[in-house]
Symmetry: C3
Subunit: 134 residues, 3 copies
């Protein structure tokens, strides 16, 4: 199961909860594990309370951990100036697993599933959903 | 499968290994995957050598990555001054998956499973365990 | 399923994609989840574009997050001066899950699976692969 998302890049943080929920429903699995995965080296999947303040705070924290405008070796070598994006993605990782209970994602009320696209341009991204269980 | 944990908040790091092991035993699964998940937006699950020194070191590192007393947008907007907690949780994530071999968690000797509660007050937290396999 | 890797330690980052792919092939699972796990408290598993520039950049970022030569409590207490390694491992975690589609890992072209060994000496490490699905 898959779906596509258009992103603006530059650490664009997009709520994908309802899209993942739809795929879980289609799978008919009532009890199991849902894996959310993005097959790109400049993206990550995580959870956050999806409100403007926390989103801004996460972007600022990532700017301290791996600043956009530092000199990256990846950039010097390939002219591909998204070095920060590769580092943020390697630290935050492209996968997240959520339990499925009674056919639904066992997420908290203030816990939304997000795709984070770090790349330095708008992109079209594919999200893979894999459900195992019964 | 679920159990509850009382935490002190403020990046309280609690060893939950034996509680998770008990749930895996109850599941009767001998070979598979155990997902540990916390359905709250200010908590994370990880592994660490559970000894006082490493625990203090982790708290100090998190204080550099997302300091408690910085000005967070989340706080300005909602008066909810746990902005640091949301950022730490989004970076460290609420899930961890461990292989099950011969009915046991395949953890290393110095590798304990921990709940980290970042929130700025004591909380009661629910840990969800989902086991798949045979 | 398991295999061993010799590492140089000191945040040695090793591409293990082809080794994991071989284990997935042996499992005969066509559709499911592959969990990659390292049962050591000073290692992590992640994905990165495996090229020299990005590898150097990741090492530099980790040196900011948890510097090698800081005073760690773990070191003061146990004389075991790999405190930085425990912190990096707790932040980056020992597991990564990838979807399996048509019997293959659903990784992107520039997305390699890596073992990161943070310890302060060469080590022999065991990687555990667990596949669930059909």
């Amino acid at each position: 199961m898959k779906f596509n998302i258009s992103t603006k890049g530059f650490t664009d943080i997009i709520d994908i909860t309802s899209m993942v929920e739809k795929e879980v429903e289609k799978s008919k699995v009532k009890d199991g594990i849902c894996l959310v995965f993005v097959a790109h080296s400049t993206c990550a999947i995580t959870t956050i309370e999806y409100e403007g303040g926390a989103i801004k705070d996460l972007k600022r924290a990532l700017e301290i951990i791996a600043p956009m405008n530092e000199d990256y070796e990846h950039c010097k070598k390939w002219g591909d100036c998204n070095g920060y994006a590769h580092i943020r993605a390697a630290l935050m990782k492209p996968c997240l697993a959520i339990p499925i209970e009674d056919g639904k994602l066992a997420l908290g009320t203030w816990q939304q599933l997000v795709l984070v696209d770090f790349d330095n341009r708008p992109r079209e991204r594919e999200i893979i959903i894999k459900v195992v269980g019964k």
